[in-house]
């Protein structure tokens, strides 16, 4: 059973917002087109993306994503950060690229 803290540790990630620390994270999805994410990402998953705009929060909330993992060292926009706090969305960031981040995550 993985929690956000486990993922932060293995990805050496920064935590931008931990809205639900006890949430169980299951499975994953990697991608940036938001409709693909909504069409394919499973509920409670870790979503790996380089998208940083405010719509990321809407998609994460509506698709019931467990944690958003911003990759490649990108930082959330101010609007995204505000919305993540407002909606208690787990939002973390890593310097790893998407491929490396997913590889590490799969070791958990």
């Amino acid at each position: 059973m993985n929690r956000v803290a486990d993922i932060i540790k293995i990805l050496d990630a920064r935590s931008y917002n931990i809205g639900k620390s006890e949430r169980e994270i299951v499975g994953g999805y990697a991608g940036d087109f938001l409709s693909f994410v909504m069409g394919r990402a499973p509920s409670s998953c870790a979503w790996f993306t380089v998208m940083t705009n405010v719509n990321v929060c809407a998609v994460a909330t509506l698709a019931d994503v467990g944690v958003v993992v911003l990759c490649e060292g990108v930082e959330p926009s101010e609007q995204l950060l505000d919305k993540a706090k407002e909606h208690s969305v787990n939002l973390i960031g890593t310097d790893l690229d998407v491929f490396e981040a997913v590889k590490k995550y799969s070791e958990l």
Binding site: S35, F36, N55, V59, L62
Partner: protein, 141 residues
Amino acid sequence: MSDVIHLEFDVAGNNFVSAGTATNQVKDTLRNLGIPNQDVRRIAIAMYEAEINMVIHACGGKATADIYADKIEVVLEDHGKGIENIELAMQPGWSTASEDIRGLGFGAGMGLPNIKKYTDEFKIESEVGKGTKVYLRVNFS
């Protein structure tokens, strides 16, 4: 059967910060009613796709949600430019979104296919130059 809850929303056009507000309120209402998570997720995704379409393509519009004991019906209506060829628009990957919109992560051509995937009924009526009306229904499990 009488309505349990009727909700109405104005959706602002070209505003990506407020986009999703109507959907979020519907989602929160359903959660508070104890509707199963998977059903909430299905209508939330379908409605958000439709709401985003109004924001991107139609300068906004109106949305209503009627929540019954066993289902939710959502209608989104705009007075935008309309859809020329609905059959084409339904094809996965087909999009008329600009590069700017694609830069925001939209315009993958998966919006309408997603709506179809997640709803139990999806109807779309559109007239070029007049607008578009979308009906969504999700039955509760």
